[in-house]
Symmetry: C2
Subunit: 758 residues, 2 copies
């Protein structure tokens, strides 16, 4: 608590952290409330109250604002165009959208007293008060008392039009409205047009809270890191940073005349293989005075191999600037099994490295934003950072702009994951405003999908569509694939849910019906009673023989099977070694989720130790894009037909974060933003475990051993569900006996519960 | 001929003019052909032949290329955001689109010998040969003999991705293909995806024919111009440039410390009215050494009023840099009436001033691209510059990009003019490639229009739509307006014609049927037998009483009336003074066109002298946005509720260029690109007239007096149509008697005809 308190205290006096402090207003308030019944520490609580009053007084704060999605799309363009492949610029192969170049921002204020405001803009702008423009160069005006409308219209081709407006009460924030076409013209008599049909959205913003913090200049922060080992042999310097990392290599006191090449390696083998290393830098040096040289592009590596190619060059050290996203770890998990703790540490580090401007797939190769990969990062994020901006930024970047000319990342399944991720986000965060703003783009994206159904009303990859599913040898992508229909049905359900949130009843009904029809079709077409499973596909109207895990495992946690089918699928597919094994952590995520959803936590724990533990045993310092335990040696590094093609730090490798939070601590929201939630802890063979699950309003803390469960939460109303052989005991609250050894306890916010059970 | 010959000769040795010379290849060849039967000037013809061979050998020339429309959209953004209103930045109120930020360019070459190429790009790029990328920094490679594919992929957020590739035979030009989404990915085995569904367009280009001539740096040329009068009185310097002009004011030997304001005026009244002048500059000077100072923004003016506001400032002269578009005058018209010649001169100057990066509306106020205004400029252009790039650039800029979120310029009628202008362009130029490239955008634009019909299948302005029609006092915009339906029907016909050009038979039939149905509806709803006219509108299902000129005059030259209706409309509307008069040159354009189409050239000539002559009598040096002969004094300057709101140099004021070319010289294409055409000259009361009408392959020259018609053309096959009381005589060709004193003569290309008639 002292740490937390001192953080809050520091925040008060630090402008830089003020916005972070603001995030803590609500948890702080909850904390305060939960302790008002306790009479101890009166002085401490007084200070707390002062903090709260101060935080509320400064809650109104100006921030840079823009058209929602534009900063995100622009930043994604910048980031995704930083990929290089052996020193070649390697951009994405899908459409990259651009920001709107002309933007109108406005808000109406009702002032008690006249107020001076200052306006900053990224771009050429004009400033209007009640429709009257000021001359160019004026950015400080006094707004008289009363009701007044302020407009700022900004044009910027090179970067996103953005404004920062700062007065006593007039502040730019996301309550301002924006449009890319105000449709406000003047007729020959001087009369202004009717603008009632102009469509406005709420401005987008993030954390650019001072005039000088320009959104266009955004860069991730860096910090210096030293190498753990350096060996020099002739012209070759091999540097080891001890573990997978990401950043800018720095050569110290570089001087001389000649050429240097720097080969980066996630493995030692890669760094040492000048012909095959995936990334590299070439330097031409001509400087007689020694000076430090930082590479222009950040890269992923553990090893760097610096070769003096020609001339006479010297440098006396190599270090790096570690580049990271400034997100805070809120979730936690510790347990009695050290290997699991180690796996979780490496998983967290893997997610940390892949959490950058956006949730990316892997840090070495493409560093792009992929919808299927991102969805998993979102889910892990809900059990670690609970950082909404990184989620919404990624969702916006993936969606880009209309018109829709291809699937997201060109991948059919990735479009579907996108829909699903939007509803997931709402469920975890309760951020209705985001749904409201993104809904039009959800509709046009769904129109695109609906327009691409085949004559049977099913999704079947058309020319130019990538049907991905998974990296798996020999996996058929032909015909109507059951897995794609399941994702499509779930997407339609997500659309229906989002339409309902926004009270668009008619659309909600339409999407619901489409989903129900498709689900019915899925079972009539793909369910095979003999195989007791959904088959993989239908080709030319005929069910194929093949059963794969994909549709079957998604069917489990989508809750599409009846209980009989669930048990059949578990046996005939999930626990059946004759069904093609999954070798990517990407699909192991869902496979293990399906098993957890069926209460197989004991089994999954062993699988986790086996699979993720297997990578650790091979020396992994972050988790990989693909891991096939049956392979050995160099095969672990190769992929895409290239010797070092595989990414050794891939976000989808970090899924234990999600599995342990959702299925062992067992905490998940049951209504938006954790207004209600369940905690259904499952030790899965562990002696004990403890951890925190973040929510929009503070954390849910839980500790479980074989005989005791402790739980408290600062948000919503939870239901603790657990089994006990004997009647469990609690000092706070009333435990309900649900029969068959099942018990439930309602968890009210601000209260701590200790349940004794066995 | 000597001038022409020396121009060709010079061109050979001037790289700068080479592209211009290339434009003359075809006319030169035609000229050569037409003189091969003549044995004179053998030496001259030999030189001509050498020129031709040389021109053909250099026909292949590299040029900067981009995604078609992107340079245009970007340039339009720049130009349209140069509007200022009393020193306030004043941007458009419609959506401004941005260029695609990531672009792939490619072409397959089949080389006889290895060839070195150099690649230049605007943006970060990679270069691939047969799918294999070179390292960054490589822009010079050798392409081996045989068949090879070259790709250049460019990313640029600030300006349009563009490339310039230069080898012996490998040259960037509009035969290269471009896409904003290549959809080329690599699977886990290293296999490249199927890209057969990727959509490619031909690259866009213009005249950036050297590596250093960057498209992003494009600026119109300027030349110095001196003032004709300067009066100094205290702190005020009033400068008169003698006539309406456009450019950058230059203060010579400016020095001192203080502030200056410059007020621009199209009229002396405006320049002298510091409180009401529409445009102005403010300068803060602090320089002890005298130096020339050129204003950063070009402006429209005849007068400038320079006021030393404060401090001690001196300058010893004021001049300007005249900014202009480098287009060549090809059409001409001269006649026996000096007033008409003067009107045409001022019309040409008016069009010259408004022909800039695009065809704009007027040079003073908004300097924007407006579809209705532009269509008239295109038509004038076909009888003057015949400059295709300015037309297609304007069409592209107006259309912007998908999705369509509003009408073009937000104006319903302006969307319709856009469709019509595209087909017009094809008819005059025969540029099928342009139709092919713009057709997808025509379809989505038409989808938008079709989606906005009311329950009766008619266009009725929705909230946010601007129904413009014309600036006319009290003109009703309510309900279903007949004029809009006519334009809509014509647009559908244009769509059908374009679909046919591209062999899209099914769409062609759909659009044709929609047009026919709408036309039938127009006559059943709006035709009033008693009024012998189309009424103005229907409100709440009831025909209104009002008859306006708009629908009726368009019905004439759209050829929508039967002969009886035509004559009725002429009498009851066009020549009926009780119908509200038109006061804008904009609609006078169509009114006079309708009368000309009915053979009323004598009447129209008088109207022209009266209306345009009227402006000249009031001292106009360019033609105005609006002219109401019944007004006087200051009323001629006011508009939009502002004292000097009216533009005194508006493109739509220049229509005599079009009327005289199309309806007096009487030349117009009857099939695309003047493959066939008619010349139906009509003196309209003049003693004689002569002139040239440009075509894609040289000019059609015509001279007519009361007794003689001379005609020759270097393109297509023409039909000269004329009336004669006695049997006309020609030495070349055979005149056909069409009865009733009507005669026709077929005009073959390269031949000259002299017809004697009376």
């Amino acid at each position: 608590m002292n740490t937390f308190f001192s953080f809050v205290a520091n925040s008060i006096f630090s402008w830089r952290h003020r916005c972070v402090a603001l995030l803590y207003r609500k948890p702080l308030f909850n904390f305060f409330l939960s302790h008002t019944t306790n009479t101890k520490h009166v002085k401490f609580k007084l200070v707390l109250l002062v903090c709260l009053v101060w935080l509320n007084s400064t809650a109104q704060q100006a921030t840079w604002i823009w058209y929602p999605g534009d900063f995100e799309i622009n930043l994604a363009n910048k980031m995704q165009n930083r990929r290089t492949d052996r020193n070649t610029f390697f951009p994405p192969f899908w459409k990259m959208d651009a920001h709107y170049v002309l933007m109108d921002f406005h808000k109406v204020f009702d002032l008690k007293a006249p107020e001076e405001i200052t306006v900053y803009a990224e771009g050429t702008f004009n400033l209007k008060l009640d429709g009257n423009a000021f001359e160019s160069g004026v950015n400080k005006i006094t707004v008289p008392a009363g009701k007044h409308k302020i407009n700022v219209k900004v044009w910027n081709e090179g970067s996103v039009p953005a404004i920062f407006v700062h007065g006593k009460t007039i502040l730019s924030d996301n309550t301002w409205l924006v449009t890319f076409e105000d449709k406000e013209w003047i007729d020959e008599s001087g009369k202004t047009s009717d603008i009632s049909a102009t469509k406005w959205l709420n401005a987008g913003s993030w954390n650019f809270d001072s005039p000088s913090q320009l959104p266009s200049k955004f860069k991730l922060p860096t910090k210096p890191l030293l190498a753990v080992n350096k060996t020099v042999s002739g012209n070759i310097t091999l540097v080891d940073f001890g573990k997978e990392t990401f950043g800018f290599i720095k050569l110290h006191n570089l001087k001389g005349n000649g050429k240097i090449s720097i080969y980066y390696g996630e493995s030692k083998e890669e760094a040492l293989d000048a012909a095959e290393a995936m990334t590299l830098d070439r330097l031409s040096i001509n400087q007689s005075e020694a000076r430090d040289s930082v590479m222009p592009l950040s890269k992923a590596f553990r090893y760097v191999n610096i070769i003096k190619e020609s001339g006479d060059i010297s440098f006396n050290d190599v270090s790096m600037l570690y580049e990271y996203a400034d997100v805070k770890q809120r979730g936690s998990f510790t347990c009695s099994d050290d290997e699991i703790n180690k796996i979780l540490d490496v998983a967290k580090y893997t997610l940390e490295l892949n959490t950058r401007e956006f949730f990316i797939d892997g840090i070495k190769r493409d560093r792009w934003v992929w919808s299927g990969d991102a969805l998993q990062s979102y889910l892990m994020n809900y059990y670690s950072y609970f950082d909404n901006p990184t989620v919404t930024r990624t969702i916006q970047a993936l969606r880009g702009k209309d018109p829709v000319t291809a699937h997201i990342n060109t991948i059919v399944d990735y479009t579907f994951y996108w829909f699903i991720s939007v509803y997931d986000y709402y469920l975890y965060t309760g951020d209705k405003k985001f749904i409201e703003q993104i809904y039009p783009k959800m509709q046009t994206m769904m129109d695109y999908c609906l327009s691409r159904r085949n004559k049977n009303g099913l999704i079947e990859g058309l020319s130019g569509d990538w049907t991905f599913i998974d990296w798996a040898a020999g996996l058929s992508k032909k015909g109507e694939i059951s897995f794609e229909q399941l994702l499509f049905a779930r997407s339609l359900e997500s659309m229906s849910l989002c339409a309902n949130i926004l009270n668009d009843k008619s659309k909600a009904a339409t999407y619901k019906k489409l989903a129900a029809d498709l689900k019915a079709k899925v079972f009539s077409i793909y369910w095979n009673n003999q195989k007791q499973a959904l088959v993989h596909s239908r080709v030319s109207g005929k069910q194929t023989d093949n059963v794969t895990r994909y549709a079957n495992m998604f069917g489990i946690f989508f809750n599409y099977f009846n209980e009989t089918q669930r048990q059949q699928v578990k046996k005939s597919v999930l626990l059946n070694d004759n069904i093609q094994k999954i070798t990517t952590p990407y699909m192991r995520f869902y496979e293990l989720e399906a098993l957890c959803a069926m209460g197989e936590q004991d089994y999954v724990l062993k699988e986790m130790k086996d699979y993720w533990g297997g990578m650790l045993n091979l020396g992994a310092t972050s988790f990989w894009e693909e891991y096939n335990p049956t392979q050995s040696g160099a095969a672990h590094l190769a992929m895409y037909g290239r010797k070092f093609g595989k990414s050794l730090c891939h976000a989808w490798g970090a899924s234990p974060i999600y599995l342990l939070g959702k299925y062992y601590l067992g905490v998940k929201p049951t209504s938006a933003g954790y207004t209600t939630y369940v905690a259904e802890p499952n030790l899965g063979g562990l002696e004990w475990m403890e951890g925190k699950v973040p929510t929009p309003d503070g954390d849910i803390e839980l500790r479980m051993s074989a005989t005791e469960i402790k739980i408290s939460g600062t948000c919503g109303t939870g239901t603790l569900k657990f089994k006990s052989k004997s009647k469990p005991i609690t000092a706070v609250g009333d435990i309900t006996d649900k029969g068959n050894g099942n018990y439930e306890l309602v968890i009210e916010k601000g209260k701590s519960y200790t349940v004794t059970y066995n």
